[in-house]
């Protein structure tokens, strides 16, 4: 049979050697919350209980499989790690305490550093940086609070927050993602 370079043709594999970075799983397992990954049996209990999986073709087991296989670029640059709704049902049910949601957090942290964070979350982070809260304060709600006899809202310690965000690395992450956004496709 004639050989071809095109993916999906007979003789080619769904996963090619050059896509695989065998050490990726160790990188993930070394981070806070990532250690459970190495215990995964790929049993699929995570996928079975996933509320997102019940409305679209999304399977936590597949994400774990891709990480264990070493498909680093695919995992970190695609949507698949940003579809988790963080309900923790998979963590609750996992017989191996893989803690999928924590593993996803590790993967998202890695992706965010490279500028692949979900734009919605970056926007929310900028809002927090500016206001100290993820929601804006409005005069209308202030008035309603008064009507309910609630104390006036305090101003969040924004300066302290900025210091934390600078020192801990979030500001860098925000900037990496703004830069990526500005790049032409």
């Amino acid at each position: 049979m004639e050989q071809t370079d095109k993916r999906g043709y007979r003789g080619d594999f769904p996963v090619r050697d050059e896509d695989v970075q065998g050490t990726f799983k160790y990188e993930v397992a070394d981070m806070v919350g990532g250690e459970g990954l190495m215990r995964c049996l790929k049993c699929g209990a995570c996928s079975g209980g996933c509320p997102v999986g019940s409305v679209i073709d999304y399977r936590p087991r597949k994400v774990l499989g891709n990480v264990l296989l070493g498909l680093k670029d695919e995992v970190l640059s695609s949507d698949q790690i940003w579809l988790c709704a963080a309900c923790f049902t998979c963590e609750e049910r996992c017989v191996q305490q893989v803690n999928f949601t924590d593993v996803v957090t590790v993967l998202r942290n890695m992706a965010s550093k490279e500028g692949h964070a979900a734009p919605g979350y970056v926007k929310m982070a900028e809002m927090v940086r500016k206001n100290g809260r993820v929601s804006a304060r409005t005069g209308q709600v202030d008035k309603m609070r008064e009507q309910l006899g609630l104390p006036p809202l305090q101003d969040p310690a924004v300066k302290q927050l900025e210091g934390i965000m600078q020192a801990a690395g979030l500001v860098e992450v925000i900037e990496a993602n703004k830069k990526k956004e500005a790049e032409p496709e």
């Binding site: 806070v32 919350g33 509320p51 997102v52 019940s54 409305v55 679209i56 940003w82 579809l83 709704a85 963080a86 309900c87 923790f88 049902t89 609750e92 803690n99 996803v104 957090t105 590790v106 998202r108 942290n109 965010s112 964070a117 979900a118 734009p119 919605g120 979350y121 970056v122 926007k123 929310m124 982070a125 927090v128 100290g132 809260r133 993820v134 929601s135 304060r137 709600v141 309603m144 609070r145 309910l148 609630l150 104390p151 809202l153 305090q154 101003d155 969040p156 310690a157 924004v158 302290q160 927050l161 210091g163 934390i164 965000m165 020192a167 801990a168 690395g169 979030l170 992450v173 925000i174």
Partner: protein, 298 residues
């Protein structure tokens, strides 16, 4: 009894959520619990923020815990997202010494110190475990047996149970017990404990709608008078999101008022709907409130 209290970002600033704060304050007052707000509270950096950078998030959440520690008080919060976040701080700091060192340094840089001694408690668990169903029953004045509701515990108060240590999440009963003592019929139905898609809002909006649609179908089929939520995201989804779902999925017959858990408690304690902000919700609560008020006194 005195507790520090963290309200979170959304609860004190969103029209349909300030009733959560108002009702929680009333309930705690009614039970003689003294509270003091965390001074200049900042975002607790919950799961979505942890997604961007875990170290920053842990340090941010530790900021509010440090303030409670300064006052020598344990921390209550009605927000499940905040609760989850604060529980994770203590866990991570205890389990990962490297992270602890990093976070200590970051906090030191802004003049803070957190030793890790503050216990974060969810208001609902606190009411059940520390105050108790009997005590609530003693102080309840209104009969609520005329209403059937669908109670949503939400995800972040319970899961994962190893971290949050309240009750195993598959079939919890404690929050039901707290309202059943008023006579409320808390209906068990499929999907009651399933995720509402709240954390996908603003990131994957279509997906958030589709998950929410399933939840609203579940509740609608259960034939309840309304939904009662513990989590502020559940409330935003079910209450504010209901309009979108009605249009997008042609659910013409849906009309489910969504109450905050403490609002129901405060109604049972005899407070009026007006002082609990029930008129600020997106879906009108009138019909449910009329049913409650028609129930009479105990």
């Amino acid at each position: 009894m005195k507790k520090a209290i963290a309200w979170g970002c959304l609860v004190p600033t969103r029209r349909s959520l300030i009733g959560y704060e108002a009702a929680t304050r009333k309930v705690l007052e009614h039970l003689n619990i003294d509270t003091v707000d965390i001074p200049n509270e900042t975002c607790c950096a919950p799961f979505w923020m942890q997604s961007l950078d875990l170290t920053t998030s842990i340090a941010m959440a530790a900021r509010n815990l440090a303030k409670a520690e300064e006052m020598g008080l344990d921390l209550l919060t009605p927000c499940s997202g905040c609760f989850h976040s604060y529980k994770r701080v203590n866990h991570v700091l205890e389990k990962y010494p490297d992270m602890r060192e990093k976070v200590d340094d970051i906090l030191k840089g802004v003049g803070l110190k957190y030793e890790g001694t503050v216990e974060a408690r969810h208001v609902v668990d606190f009411l059940y475990t520390d105050i108790g169903v009997d005590e609530l029953q003693k102080r309840s004045t209104r009969d609520l047996s005329s209403i059937s509701i669908g109670l949503r515990y939400g995800c972040h108060m319970l899961k994962p149970h190893e971290l949050l240590n309240i009750e195993y999440s598959e079939r919890p009963t404690f929050a039901d017990e707290l309202i059943e003592q008023f006579g409320v019929n808390s209906v068990q139905y499929a999907g009651r404990h399933r995720c509402c898609g709240g954390l996908l809002r603003g990131v994957q909006d279509d997906l958030a709608d589709r998950v929410l649609h399933e939840r609203l179908v579940d509740a609608n089929e259960a034939g309840v008078d309304g939904i009662v939520t513990v989590c502020s995201l559940c409330h935003l989804q079910h209450d504010m999101g209901q309009r979108t779902i009605k249009r997008k999925f042609a659910m013409e017959d849906i009309d489910l008022p969504v109450l905050h858990f403490p609002q129901l408690l405060a109604l049972g304690f005899g407070y009026s709907p007006e002082e609990l902000g029930l008129n600020y919700h997106t879906v009108k609560t009138d019909k449910l409130v009329a049913k409650v008020m028609g129930g009479g006194r105990r």
